[in-house]
């Protein structure tokens, strides 16, 4: 770790100001990715702006929308009775992120701002058609993810909450990397106010993406049979020592079926 200044602002406005004033400053949410990055000297920020004092944690449900504060931990989402009732697939997804320690430190806002292509939350956000609230605007999920580790956030912009419309049905299934247990392939299927949406994380070279062929098939018939004829091309998918693009393409189909089964 290189030396850096540590700041812990008390308000969102103050945090935005600190981050905007210094392009080398970096925001810290749960730190489950960023702390290891710092420890390995892969980043050299001038300052780390700790967002834990901004009061951004908390969960609320009203008007068919589940709103989760950006600094809410995965463990809190997983354990929330409200989330489990409204969107059980989202609670289950949060409960399957990382390990127990990670789930008690890692946050939904941190995960989405980092946009790791193998993270779980992007699949839920995209498939449920969630809206990200920031210090200055709201961003629809479809416009938010712009490639791996790349989002629509402007420099200094801070996610404050994520709003999930409650779906009729939703399910998530992931195939974990045997070593890291990040998603090698994770598929979230949902049917709700925004129609049928299928999002795939872990597999794509460009990060999370919508599987439109599956969406069309499921719109016609919400059934495993409908998915049977849908092929997933290997082109554009990741390949590494754990799995070729072809294997990942195959797993997208398997995980989609399992997500569908979980959704009921």
């Amino acid at each position: 770790m290189y030396a850096f200044a540590y700041q812990k602002p008390a308000t969102v406005a103050e945090a935005v100001k600190l981050l905007s004033a210094d392009p080398e400053a970096k925001a810290l949410a749960g730190g489950m990715t960023y702390i290891p990055v710092l420890k390995q000297r892969l980043a050299r920020p001038s300052a780390v702006v700790d967002l834990s004092g901004l009061g951004l944690a908390g969960i609320g449900v009203s008007g068919g929308v589940v709103t989760i504060g950006a600094m809410t931990t995965h463990a809190a989402v997983a354990a929330s009775a409200e989330v489990r009732r409204a969107i059980p697939a989202l609670a289950a997804l949060a409960g399957g992120i990382g390990d127990n320690e990670v789930r008690h430190r890692g946050t939904i806002g941190g995960s989405l701002a980092n946009d790791d292509p193998t993270a779980d939350y992007p699949a839920a956000v995209l498939a449920l058609g969630a809206t990200l609230r920031t210090d200055r605007r709201t961003i629809a999920a479809d416009g938010y993810f712009q490639g791996m580790f790349t989002t629509a956030l402007e420099p200094g912009e801070i996610i404050t909450a994520v709003a999930f419309p409650v779906p009729e049905k939703a399910g998530y299934a992931k195939f974990p990397n045997p070593a890291s247990r990040y998603a090698m392939v994770g598929v979230f299927v949902a049917r709700g106010p925004q129609g049928v949406r299928v999002a795939v994380t872990g597999a794509g070279q460009g990060g999370v993406f919508r599987h439109t062929a599956m969406e069309k098939a499921l719109e016609k018939s919400w059934s495993a049979d409908a998915l049977a004829g849908v092929a997933t091309p290997a082109e554009g998918l990741n390949a590494d020592l754990h799995g070729s693009a072809e294997y990942r393409a195959h797993l997208v189909g398997v995980m989609a079926r399992r997500a569908l089964a979980a959704a009921g």
Binding site: Q40, F175, P178, A179, S180, D240, H242, Y247
Partner: protein, 776 residues
């Protein structure tokens, strides 16, 4: 039954200390004025170093010194060498290239040490390391052992043509060929024994201090016995062994990997002397992947000749063993002497011939890893036997039973140098089959099939030959505070030695276990020791403790005869008391020792009970047993789930069944890891280690494993008075073939006939897909 009685499941006395954070590990050593060292490592697999500029590094605030290979050479520090020079089949000498602590003009694997930066703080040392400018001229690299001998392959050493380190053989080749010539059937199989990383929880590390006045070093290091490190450092520094004191604190896992002297030990000793202050280095996890010796990495062709009655005639193997870029201390020994001695396993082969080709590649050096050669041989044999059973249409259990050496044949001399003292292989096999309910498997398979899963059952009968130093020392001292101190020459890295040695000492001397302390790991206090490795500790140190205890009792008898005014011949020792035979007059051993010590303190004549003895370890042991695994394979994803795992083990007498079970369970988990998860993967072009962190190197996890059921059939070893056989490695020897045979059984109906470790999801899925494509 006493609390520390033999054969009791005594809970480990070291655990409260280790589990509550009171253990003292190498990183807990903090000395006044201590500096921190960081190693600059090669980013390339093969390169010529054209320049090293340390000026900027030296200028970094807090940096005290930067050393390179030139500094070591100028000071006359020699490289490390393998301790096992090899002789080729043709009688010529095998290669034994130097292993410099810091590169001398060339780097030969990613992670090869190039410079050593010493600074006031770890952060400053890291800054300094980043400022060392090394110019490399990259060269082509070779990492795959199967391709290393190819024409045109990149060369690791100029004087080792075709990257051949040695070409070694054992067994009667002519007799073996003759048996193959008249075989009814020959089963052939090429297996890959995948390269693994030991991954001890505690990474390697050491602290060196130099006493200029005495001209003496102290090195605190996590070793498996400091004496080998002492010997090697003395050789490198061209000095006497007495110039080094090696202290080994608590060690957090080792698995063979911490046996060896390493370049960092040399760097630390050199730096401590050069700067006149103690220096510490502790490997980061990424460094462990790039600098701890790796394990296994063999490509082996095995051939099994069978007669018309399904009896094994002969075994022939040709093994290409990856040595890595340098020959680590025992590296050549592992696939040769250590590995081939168990090739005949528990079967009555008439002849065995093995050819082992050690090859250099641009990879981290390979050396002993839990089992060291024996798991590789057992894996080959047990895969071959299963394949032969399929080829011949004979039941797997029956084929093994038919070929096992009978108890009446003991001691059994094998064609490859083994001499088994004891063993009831059929009895153990049958006990395992009964425990597993092997015969009812078909119904369980049908149950899985209903859920779309393929269920398989597999077994492996393993035989291990434990080994290591042929002598061991113990010293028993009756301390002033009333405790009994036992000094041992082995080195625990978590096995539970303290408990077992307490049990033995308590049993022999009749002393309460709570009053016995075990000491290890200081080469000044303990002049000789064989260290721990090859599952040797209990039977080796155990014999030393027995011998020393006998010496204590002899002295005690003498002292008691004086104290009780009786003839020494009339003194009997029982349950911790010396008494005059036929009377109730006596004195207990602790009182006697205290009395004698007090007399000595007063300047009076006394017979102290303290004793030290070195026991000759004339024979090693042959633990063996049957592993059975039941797995479910998800054909959609290729995921293998281990449903049940049982072991019926003959590790001789169990001094502490609780510790034995724990050892076997840990070994099984490691073997399962090798079979299904772990693989050190090198990029064939760049020579980069792709699986260089736990993000990509998949260790087994607790939720991968069911309860591992271990049953002990205690068939006493006849070559040591304790009747014990070494149990430390056994689990890791039996589990890879048991798991793979179960997976192959699960996939047999899908048409998959062969699969190499690790059986990763993608590999399994592809094997099923390929078999389906063939059958269409």
């Amino acid at each position: 039954m006493t609390k520390f009685g033999l054969a009791q499941p005594v809970r480990r006395v070291e655990d409260p200390r280790l589990l509550k954070g009171a253990g003292r590990y190498t990183d807990d050593i903090v000395l006044p004025g201590m500096l921190h060292g960081v190693v600059v490592r090669s980013p390339h697999a093969a390169a010529r170093i054209t320049a090293i500029d340390t000026a900027a590094a030296v200028a970094v605030a807090g940096v005290v010194a930067v050393f390179t290979g030139a500094d070591l050479a100028a000071a006359g520090v020699d490289p490390l060498y393998s301790a096992v020079p090899m002789t080729n089949r043709d009688g010529s000498a095998g290669a034994n290239p130097p292993h410099p602590a810091l590169a001398q003009g060339f780097v030969r694997h990613v992670g090869d040490p190039v410079a050593f930066v010493v600074a006031e703080t770890l952060a400053a040392a890291r800054d300094g390391a980043e400022a060392v400018a090394v110019s490399y001229q990259q060269m082509p690299a070779i990492t795959d052992p199967a391709r290393a001998m190819d024409e045109g392959a990149a060369q690791v050493w100029a004087d080792a043509p075709h990257n051949l380190a040695f070409d070694w053989e054992v067994g009667d080749r002519a007799a073996t060929e003759a048996l193959f010539a008249r075989a009814h059937h020959v089963t052939r199989l090429t297996v890959i024994n995948n390269r693994v990383v030991a991954s001890s929880i505690e990474t390697r590390g050491a602290v060196a201090a130099y006493d200029a006045a005495a001209g003496r070093w102290t090195l605190w290091a996590n070793t498996q016995g400091g004496w080998l490190v002492k010997e090697s450092l003395a050789a490198a520094f061209r000095t006497e062994q007495a110039s080094f004191r090696i202290v080994t604190p608590d060690v957090g896992g080792a698995f063979g990997m911490k046996i060896f002297p390493y370049p960092e030990h040399v760097c630390l000793a050199f730096a401590a002397r050069a700067v006149g202050r103690p220096v510490k280095w502790l490997a980061e996890r990424a460094e462990s992947f790039l600098s701890d010796t790796h394990g296994r990495d063999n490509v082996t062709l095995g051939e099994l000749a069978v007669d018309g009655d399904g009896r094994f005639l002969a075994l022939r193997t040709r093994n290409i063993a990856n040595m890595g870029a340098y020959l680590s201390t025992y590296a050549p020994f592992i696939p040769t002497f250590a590995g081939t001695i168990v090739l005949a396993s528990v079967y009555g082969f008439r002849s065995v011939y093995a050819n082992v080709l050690g090859v250099f590649t641009h990879t981290v050096p390979v050396d002993a890893y839990r089992g060291a050669g024996r798991p590789e041989s057992n894996y080959l044999v047990e895969r071959l036997v299963d394949q032969a059973a399929r080829d011949l249409g004979i039941d797997r259990v029956e084929l093994r039973r038919r070929n096992m050496v009978a108890p009446s044949a003991m001691p059994w001399q094998t064609p490859v140098g083994g001499r088994y003292d004891s063993g009831e292989f059929v009895r153990v096999l049958d006990a395992a089959a009964a425990k597993m309910d092997w015969s009812a498997f078909r119904a369980r398979r049908a149950l899985s099939a209903r859920h779309g899963l393929r269920r398989g059952i597999g077994l492996a009968y393993y035989l291990e030959a434990t080994g290591g130093s042929n002598s061991e020392r113990a010293e028993i001292v009756f301390a002033e505070d009333g405790f009994v101190d036992v000094y041992v020459g082995t080195q625990s890295s978590g096995q539970g030695h303290e408990t077992a040695y307490v049990q033995l000492t308590a049993d022999r001397l009749g002393i309460p276990g709570e009053q016995i302390r075990i000491h290890q790991g200081d080469t000044d206090r303990i002049p000789v020791g064989g260290g721990t490795g090859g599952a040797r500790s209990l039977y080796s140190e155990g014999q030393a403790i027995l011998l020393t205890a006998r010496s204590v009792i002899d002295k005690g008898r003498q002292a008691a005869s004086e104290a009780l005014e009786a003839a020494a011949a009339d003194i009997v020792f029982e349950a911790g008391r010396f008494t005059i035979a036929g009377t109730d007059r006596g004195i207990d051993i602790l009182s006697l020792a205290a009395t004698q010590r007090a007399r000595r303190a007063r300047g009076e004549e006394a017979t102290l009970l303290d004793a030290a003895e070195v026991a000759a370890i004339d024979a090693h042991t042959y633990p063996n047993g049957c592993h059975m695994a039941e797995v479910e394979v998800d054909p959609e994803t290729g995921v293998v789930q281990l449903l049940r795992y049982i072991v019926v083990d003959d590790v001789g007498r169990a001094i502490n069944p609780l510790i034995v079970r724990g050892q076997v369970q840990g070994g099984v988990a490691q073997g399962f890891g090798q079979a299904v998860r772990e693989q050190a993967v090198y990029d064939p072009d760049s020579g980069q280690l792709l699986s260089g962190s736990f993000m990509d190197y998949a260790l087994p996890r607790a939720d991968d494993l069911p309860d591992i059921e271990v049953e002990l059939l205690e068939i006493p070893c006849t070559t040591n008075p304790l009747g014990v056989k070494g149990a430390g490695e056994a689990g890791a020897v039996g589990s890879p073939p048991a798991v793979m045979n179960a997976i192959l059984d699960a996939l047999a109906e899908a048409g998959v006939a062969d699969l190499d470790m690790p059986a990763t999801p993608e590999k399994v899925w592809k094997a099923i897909a390929a078999a389906e494509a063939t059958s269409l």
